[in-house]
């Protein structure tokens, strides 16, 4: 990049907020996806929303590819920049602008950390339910751009269910307003809906209006132990069929159970073929009633044992085991690939047995855990990316998993996004017309193709 242009960026965001050394730029060449790094030409960190808008305009005026980055926790390469492009950091735009307790909404800048926001909301006696695994570090802007999910998706929905409005910059740096502070709003096109899950390809978020809800008054957690994966899956279907929607309904396979037990010594039954970790919440009376019914359903469908948490400490123990799942698996092998192909709930047994077959066929190690209640499993590949031959088998197995998921009427990604990792599969799930339509849409909004080019729909 020429010096004059660097100076122009420095004039917009301040000299200290422009990073041009090789070592600084290389540290924005990757995200949490297992993909090759790509070094940007420049990294800028605007400290005001006005400066952010001007950065977008300057990039567009110069036809520079622009990749917006919050905390870089993306699992599909959505925050890996384009060669020669710039990375725009949002982590200095981290102010909660308003929390409105009367009207149950909040307005935030895009760089606010999810968990910090949730804690601030909780301190006011309210609840922001989306809880992606990376919430301790992820930004709300990133959550909206990826439509992030989490453990509570089954009952409470995902990020899109909490986005009431998004104000964003178009490529000319003009602010486009969409949505409202009101529960109902049918004014104009649903542009904020378009922004959710757009992975930075259509606009750059300026501020976000999020819905808040009252927190549940009570919770009850339990662990159901099964000696057969199918029985566990049937129990999941039966719980929903009984018109009970637990806040969380998580699954762990035998490999994951054994790995977690080796690592955390949480007293898990290592002989179990499957565990369901279930939490119901709501009014205390309803919670007691539903917990009893869930316990009975699990037992009826062949659970060897159901352990109901008696107090906060026991409840914490149940979730500690779940929280340890990824950590424990990650320690088994150098490289961890966390997939999130998702199927309709009723197809989980078929998906589980397909994963076992694929693991055998390609001789790869897969531990599976995840959100059974919403069909969003995480088959986790444990491998070493430096071993070229094994890595090829992992890639083939991933291809197979996507084929099976799509064959079962599922989707490529439940919550991690398409990014560059899965864009080549997009047409398989949709069709050619869908890709063309999306590309035309992007071309109209971003004629020079500067906004996170190559993501979702290729180039």
């Amino acid at each position: 990049m020429n010096e004059a242009l660097k100076k122009e960026f420095a004039a917009l965001v301040g000299k200290d907020n422009v990073m041009e050394s090789e070592s600084d730029r290389f540290s924005y060449a990757y995200d949490a996806a297992v993909l090759e790094p790509v070094m940007p030409a420049l990294v800028v960190r605007p400290e005001t929303r006005e400066a952010l808008g001007r950065v977008v305009k300057l990039a567009n005026d110069n036809g520079l590819p622009l990749c917006v980055r919050g905390s870089g926790t993306n699992l599909s390469g959505g925050t890996i920049p384009k060669q020669g492009g710039i990375v725009v950091l949002t982590n200095a735009l981290n102010k909660i602008l308003e929390i409105n307790e009367a009207d149950l909404y909040a307005i935030v800048e895009p760089g606010v950390i999810t968990a910090k926001f949730a804690a601030e909301v909780a301190a006011r006696g309210l609840f922001y339910p989306p809880d992606p695994g990376s919430q301790a570090v992820s930004t709300l802007g990133g959550n909206v751009a990826e439509n992030a999910g989490g453990l509570r998706g089954l009952k409470y929905g995902v990020t899109k269910d909490y986005v009431m409005g998004v104000d964003f910059f178009d490529v000319d740096g003009e602010i486009v307003k969409s949505g409202s502070r009101t529960v109902k709003c049918v004014t104009g096109l649903n542009l904020h809906g378009l922004m959710v899950g757009s992975e930075g390809t259509l606009g750059v978020f300026e501020k976000i209006t999020l819905k808040l809800v009252p927190p549940p008054l009570a919770q009850k957690a339990m662990m159901a132990i099964f000696d057969d994966v199918n029985k566990a899956c049937e129990a999941v279907a039966a719980i929903i069929a009984a018109k009970i929607v637990p806040a969380t309904l998580e699954f762990m396979d035998n490999f994951t159970i054994r790995t977690v037990e080796d690592f955390a010594h949480a007293g898990l039954p290592v002989e179990a073929q499957a565990l369901l970790l279930i939490e119901v919440d709501g009014h205390p009376g309803q919670v007691a009633d539903e917990a009893e019914k869930v316990e009975a359903i699990c037992k009826k469908l062949g659970a060897k044992r159901v352990q109901v948490a008696k107090d906060a400490a026991e409840r914490n123990k149940v979730w500690e085991a779940r929280r340890a799942a990824l950590s424990a698996l990650a320690r088994v092998a150098p490289t961890t690939v966390l997939e999130d192909a998702t199927v309709p709930r009723s197809k989980i047994p078929a998906m589980m047995s397909a994963i076992v077959d694929i693991s055998k066929k390609h001789k790869v190690t897969i531990g599976t855990f995840g959100h059974a209640g919403d069909g969003n499993l995480h088959p986790t590949f444990l491998t070493d990316r430096r071993n070229k031959e094994e890595w090829k088998r992992v890639e083939d197995a991933i291809d197979d998993i996507f084929d099976v998921a799509l064959g079962l009427g599922g989707t490529l990604s439940g919550e991690h996004g398409i990014g560059i990792a899965k864009s080549k599969y997009m047409e398989k799930e949709t069709n050619h017309a869908t890709i063309l339509f999306s590309r035309r849409l992007k071309k109209a909004l971003d004629p020079k193709g500067i906004l996170n080019p190559g993501k979702i729909i290729g180039e």
């Binding site: 050394s21 090789e22 070592s23 290389f26 060449a29 949490a32 870089g72 926790t73 301790a136 150098p334």
Partner: protein, 429 residues
């Protein structure tokens, strides 16, 4: 080593450790540097990516990487919360020494480590000389904390408020000791560490008083050297190995149940770092290191866990004391309940926790000199938490943290005194 292929080869040997980082970014939530700057190269994930980039020739500027690596307190917060268990300190310490071997050690550090620190006799002599004349160029800053400042030294130490060197260092007061186990049936080897020997001698005296009270025998050999961490943190592996050898020689032949230090950094260095790097030493030295490391204990842990002490009820008019958890105690060794128990042993004190008791104070050894502004920013946050707790005293089990916290409190004009938990306990005896 000064050729590139050798650098790449050495970095390649770290590859098995580097590859375990899955780039999840969880370290961003706990890193005190990242909290200040929001820059990826300041957090563990960024540094690990840079080292990998260097090893695979994607990054071609070793000096740039070295500069980023130096922007780290070695506090271990990232390692303590890492989901995939990356051995971050292990990687950073080795990488620093690999890069110093390639790029060379700055002259000032060469003089300090190779010319002075590794020669305990000379080091002691120079320090006593400095102790004699320090009054001439310093003036008192805060009586409660016991700090001074110096306009003359400003170019070297900046605006810092510091504690003067002790008039009589501990090794002069107690050249050596070898007393048998008493009522406790236990005997310890005592490793005061440089800061207790030369600056915070009161901590050494308090430790010996507590040992005596409980009938603990003490082996305090002459000729102890620095534990090695300052040299190692600067990438000077040679000086580090010299210092370890000097200490092995000093403690050789003593018989003791535990080696006890009142310094969190010394404890974690001897217990964790010595074994981690012992493959660079002879088999007999490795054996000696293993034996010593297994026996090494923080003094808070030793008193609380081995001497069966039971805290009394605090007095009605007890002084409020808040605890700072040193990174090298809590995150490295899991010691956090024991210093609180030691404070509770003195009924004249009552504990009052601060917010963020276990966040880094910003000292990071020589980091506080090389990155003074950043160190002060991180330290200011700790000072605010201490002040907001409303406590009259802050206690912490690490002389380096004590020095940093004293500096920050003194610069803010706070009248809050800084003590080691063993001093608080010893006051009650």
């Amino acid at each position: 080593m000064s050729d590139l292929p050798e650098l790449l080869k050495q970095l390649g040997e770290l590859d098995d450790q580097l590859v375990t980082c899955m780039r999840c970014g969880t370290c961003q939530a706990v890193c005190p540097m990242y909290e200040q700057t929001g820059r990826e190269a300041d957090v563990a994930r960024g540094k690990i990516a840079l080292l990998e980039g260097l090893a695979y020739k994607l990054v071609k500027d070793p000096e740039g990487v070295q500069d980023k690596l130096s922007r780290c307190l070695l506090c271990g917060s990232c390692a303590a919360s890492c989901p995939s268990g990356v051995k971050v300190l292990d990687i950073f310490i080795k990488a620093r020494s690999i890069l110093v071997a390639y790029l060379g050690l700055p002259t000032v550090k060469k003089i300090i480590f190779r010319g002075m620190l590794t020669k305990p006799g000379l080091f002691d002599g120079l320090m006593s000389l400095a102790a004699k004349f320090q009054g001439l160029f310093t003036s008192p800053a805060n009586d409660v904390i016991g700090t001074s400042c110096s306009r003359l030294l400003q170019p070297i130490i900046g605006e810092r408020h510091f504690r003067l060197l002790a008039k009589t260092p501990l090794h002069r007061e107690f050249p050596s000791l070898d007393t048998p186990a008493g009522a406790s049936g236990l005997k310890v080897a005592f490793f005061p560490g440089c800061m207790v020997d030369k600056m915070y001698t009161g901590i050494g005296e308090a430790s010996l008083k507590v040992f005596k009270h409980h009938g603990v025998g003490v082996f305090l050999p002459a000729g102890q050297a620095c534990c090695g961490i300052p040299a190692l943190a600067s990438g000077d592996m040679d000086s580090y190995l010299t210092l370890v050898r000097e200490n092995l020689a000093a403690f050789k032949g003593g018989s003791f149940d535990a080696l006890v230090t009142p310094c969190a950094s010394c404890t974690s260095t001897i217990k964790e770092v010595w074994p981690m790097l012992s493959d660079r030493m002879s088999p007999s030295e490795q054996k000696a290191i293993k034996a010593i490391a297994e026996k090494t204990m923080d003094i808070n842990a030793f008193v609380a866990d081995k001497l069966g002490v039971v805290p009394p009820e605090p007095a009605a008019d007890a002084v409020t004391v808040t605890m700072h958890d040193p990174c090298h105690l809590k995150k490295a060794l899991g010691v956090s309940a024991q210093p609180r128990k030691l404070v509770a042993m003195n009924s004249k004190y009552v504990l009052k926790e601060m917010a963020g008791a276990d966040t880094c104070c910003g000292c990071g050894g020589s980091f506080t000199l090389t990155h003074a502004d950043m160190s002060a920013k991180i330290g200011q946050r700790k000072r605010d938490n201490i002040k907001n707790s409303g406590a009259q005293v802050v206690a912490t089990g690490c002389p380096a943290c004590m020095m940093q916290i004293s500096d920050m409190l003194s610069r803010n004009g706070d009248n809050i005194s800084v003590k080691h938990p063993i001093e608080i306990y010893a006051e009650s005896l």
